[in-house]
Symmetry: C2
Subunit: 223 residues, 2 copies
């Protein structure tokens, strides 16, 4: 090894877990499924939602969306075209949402007459993974142009997610990206992880993802 | 507007600025130029450095690199092939580097007989922008697949940088990406920003970027 490795220590302040669990139980009692969707900036969260929401509506689910962003409203504008109930959360520079912030958002959105609320978290592969939002399930998107080494570099994100969408597979011919390597690296951290190769742009693979999500909502409401 | 906008408040703890300024002055006195390189995960920081380092060495500069990552060593392994003095910083889950962490890294790397140290920050468009590392200059990479709306969504990052590399321009035919729109949106936040469209993969545009960096190092050492 031609270089030294330095471990910089982190100060941990974690009072979030109890809040998240309480919120999850409240949502469970109301029959509201909260999906926490995470990814890097620009991996296609909003485009994926534009394909996911109509498919959920078609299956009879009533959908709400919370768009978390540092500052802009561009994603909420885009999503509002689907007819879903949408709210924009401005985090004021914050890099993630915690359970208390998610609760603020849900109160402002209103969960009455909703079956699923999708939280589009801040575009960030690091911090959002550290904070349980109270979601029933976590999903993440990795897009092909980002590279197949990401499970090695952001292991916590891959560990805390139940579903991994590998997006922009229509660009596989353009990039040096090994889908099997991603699967193997991600499964090493998280053997239960469901992987869905998709192209939100072309619609390829979206049915498998929506089918999985549909089953999760159903199970959440039935249990 | 079909949705509400909620401002979530942030708690600010900022004791970093003095540390950063002190570090910058120490580096100035030693004639060491520190470049803080930031971007999303997968935008091509390491590949860009693989093209940048040999070009700097060719111009006579002695180069050191600090690779900050949550957990893995893959980037330091890659960079060590250039022959540059390399160190891997593990942030233990932290999403950014501050001035104190940067100082730890520089002490471990050793700055004697170096003209430029490049800090490859954690892949993240949010948190690293909030922490002055003590660098002489900040640069960021936005890659074409991430989309041209990023200056709207991550305004602070575009504000604190002196140079913007728009990477992966060889994939412009594949993505719906408006280079002029990025420039206009970024300049709105930061009129002084220098923009360099590049492809680290093909080498296109890299000369202009290295030329700019060369002038910055020269000015830093001469002043």
């Amino acid at each position: 090894m031609a270089f030294k490795v330095i471990e910089i220590k982190k100060s941990v302040l974690d009072c979030n877990d109890r809040d998240a669990e309480a919120l999850r139980q409240e949502l469970k009692a109301k029959g509201v499924f909260l999906l926490n969707l995470m990814s890097s900036p620009g991996s296609g969260k909003t485009t994926t939602l534009m394909g996911t929401i109509p498919a959920l509506v078609q299956r009879g689910w009533r959908v709400g969306v919370m768009e978390a962003d540092i500052d802009s409203d561009v994603d909420a504008h885009t999503i509002s075209a689907t007819g879903a109930r949408v709210i924009q959360l401005h985090t004021g520079g914050m890099c993630h949402l915690d359970a208390a912030m998610t609760r603020q958002g849900l109160e402002a959105l209103g969960t009455d007459e909703l079956d699923i609320v999708i939280l589009e978290n801040v575009g960030n592969l690091v911090c959002p993974a550290e904070f349980d939002t109270g979601a029933a399930k976590n999903a993440m998107i990795l897009s092909v142009p980002e590279g197949d080494d990401k499970p090695l570099k952001y292991p916590l994100m891959f560990s805390v997610c139940h579903a991994l969408l590998v997006n922009k597979i229509d660009t596989l011919p353009v990039f040096d990206f090994d889908l099997a390597a991603v699967e193997q690296r991600a499964r090493q951290r998280n053997p239960q992880l469901k992987m869905f190769p998709v192209s939100a742009r072309t619609g390829e693979g979206m049915e498998a993802w929506v089918g999985w999500l549909d089953r999760q909502i159903r199970a959440w409401k039935e249990q």
